[in-house]
Symmetry: D3
Subunit: 173 residues, 6 copies
């Protein structure tokens, strides 16, 4: 399997878009990656937009960020919550700085905006937050997936196949 030995984390909060968390989760497992979900301390379970539960494996403090090959942020309204935690933003910044893959889909872009890593980057997102992405200094493109360095972004659930292919390709290098 192409990704065995790779470590991936997915950030979770309530109202995550169901498939934008779970499709990459299982997809990267299928390729042999170790995939863990990160949530805040004291939370046993988060519910998706439709109530699908996910139990975090780790808190931000548990994450050995230097061993992480990819950090993914699902969409839905979870990003509106995630961007409020300095610990979560710190994870994103460190992962970005060390060259890990950063994946964001749909509304996920709010988190990298608040982590301050969008400036000068080509990106995409759900059209609703395009203005926020552009105001943060991103060059916004209307494509199923946009890869700029270690930043990989997609628009909506319909882009999940293209999104995951790009993530797998980047992790396989």
């Amino acid at each position: 399997m192409s990704l065995s030995g790779k470590n991936v984390i997915i950030l979770a909060e309530n109202f995550y878009e169901d498939l934008e968390l779970w499709y990459p989760y299982y997809r990267l497992k299928e390729e042999g990656a170790d995939v863990k979900v990160v949530g805040m301390p004291g939370v046993e379970s988060y519910g998706s937009k439709h109530g699908y539960p996910v139990s975090p494996d780790l808190t931000p403090k548990d994450v050995e960020i230097e061993k992480i090959d990819a950090l993914l942020v699902p969409g839905g309204y979870a990003p509106d919550k995630l961007r409020r935690y300095p610990e979560m933003l710190a994870l994103v910044r460190k992962a970005f700085d060390q060259g890990s893959v950063i994946g964001m889909i749909c509304h996920a872009g709010w988190v990298p905006i608040s982590a301050g890593i969008i400036k000068g980057k080509k990106v995409t997102s759900v059209s609703a937050i395009r203005d926020d992405m552009v105001n943060a200094g991103g060059e916004w493109l209307d494509q199923a997936v946009v890869v700029d360095g270690n930043l990989i972004s997609s628009r909506t659930p319909a882009d999940l196949p293209a999104y995951c292919k790009a993530i797998i390709a980047a992790l396989s290098k």
Copy 2:
């Protein structure tokens, strides 16, 4: 009553924050204003974050914007929907340009961001979208209510009394 003869519109979409729509609605009626809810064509009812229904009175096309004294945007996740409609953004821009009061609370700021009217203005919002407000050129202040020219903004439902007082004061001039 201080506001009789004044015309107010409130923009609505699903997942509006219940009290951020209804408190100003009844409050300005109490002062004698004519208050109408604006929704997209073909929609009989929007539900709040908790499912409280509101039936729009007007579509954007029905609004005689030059007669409008105040345009208010509630928070919740309705602003994430509202900013996608060019008709809604056009109402905000015209109201702003003609000097009408523009009120925004909590997550409502996303709409004025996309209407392009935040630049150089003192504003507040729920802390989660502060970065979006700042990236849009706003000067963000942590106050119950911020008034800059015809732009009036507040942070959360707890600020509703201060928010409405400021709106009433502005409309009473």
Copy 3:
């Protein structure tokens, strides 16, 4: 502000009508009153008809009733629960006897009925409970707000502006 120094309590239970609790809550705060929510011991939060949460500040035992200037009862089906607690009915009776403002809207009338304070009074309510009000000795009027001595009553959420104006006027005397 007209009501600074005034103490107001609102009785809460599950299935309270959302706006009939929250509009007076914020409205009287806007006027400077101290407003507290009263719930039964051991309850962290009540949900409205639509699930909007409210956290009680006080239990009936905590209330220093002689310092209370107004006691308000919201509608919805909370009154059907509230009237079952002798402690709640005792608060209503004492507040009434000492001349505090008693506000009731929509279905709230069931509580004053069970407190035994309706007899000989002019009142209104949602039409559904008119017969209960009349059987309790009230003179039922179809008006947005009815004021009879310290008893103030309204019919439905649409009457909230008139209801709060009357409460503020009574408290300002």
Copy 4:
């Protein structure tokens, strides 16, 4: 079967107490009665307090009241709706006047109150509405089932066996 040839109607509206409608429904069918559900025109289905659906068989206008041997009202908050329809109250009054069995359980008493048939009768109900029953002229008893002439009343779902036994006995005379 003891009740074959007997005609029974049950009044329905939203938020009926699930078992207080369905237990008598099936119980009287088990005894051979013809049981029909009555709802307002244009309504395909009502939901119980928990969302269990019931499809009305008849509107008030369809009911040949002189052929009805028993009219039953379930509890929950359906009675708060049912008492608003003059057509429903007319059915109750006519059935009562002609000596049909009138069954009411829990909050159902609000309907006979508004139909004006409680005065001077021994009755029971959920304790929450005891004051309304007493104010309507009823003599309220704390018993599983109270039979006074053709009026049969019970307190809560736990009384359903006693309630149905009394109804069957009355219909078997």
Copy 5:
């Protein structure tokens, strides 16, 4: 009353069909039977398909099976859960072997299938699981109620009157 001194248990799990648990529960109580609900240890309450709560009285270990005259299984999707517990299946087998009445309605048949007691028996069920019943060795009949020895089965809620009559008749022998 015909069933006084008889002991009946009903097996419960989440998503039980509301009336298929509660109608027999109250019906057999009406006849004087002692009726108890059995659930797994540590569970305070199960919810029906529509969320109607039931609090178990006993765990499988508490049941003195040799004293039980009838064991009933409701339908809905509770049977899909119940058949996973060896303790529950053991109760069914022992009750069957000692000649107690075994009642099953709708989807309940999955539990007797897994208890291994269907082989060679005439049975019915909701049509959806007919193939499972036949594959388990049952002779499937399309009747409101099928009685074969101590095994009593019905198809859907509409058969509840016939189902309970047959159970009462069997227990009255």
Copy 6:
């Protein structure tokens, strides 16, 4: 892409397990397959166990079964509905007979049971329906994925990676 030119259908009904429908859907699209969802005529949308919507692309009548390379059945309680439609069972049988890949996961096995294609086959499923699978003549194995000829089966959502790998491998031959 390995599966371009391949045609896949997924059968849908209400209460499908969210990920057991959507993970294979996007996964096979990622490999280039044409994936369509089949539902009964007149249905605009089915909801998952958590309410995630899916809009069918085709009715059974629209399917050109001889062009289908794989037919997949998701778990949840959708299979309890799907097995009631002769049209759906006919699709399964024809696809099986012509050697198309038949995928079933979790509770999906009920559909192949009713299609009569389990006899003599090695299979797996959620443990709850093992008895039904065995009674239908299957040899039940406790493995993440079981492949026997064109029949591919898995146990639960955690097996999705193994399940899809096996499906892709079978379609790639």
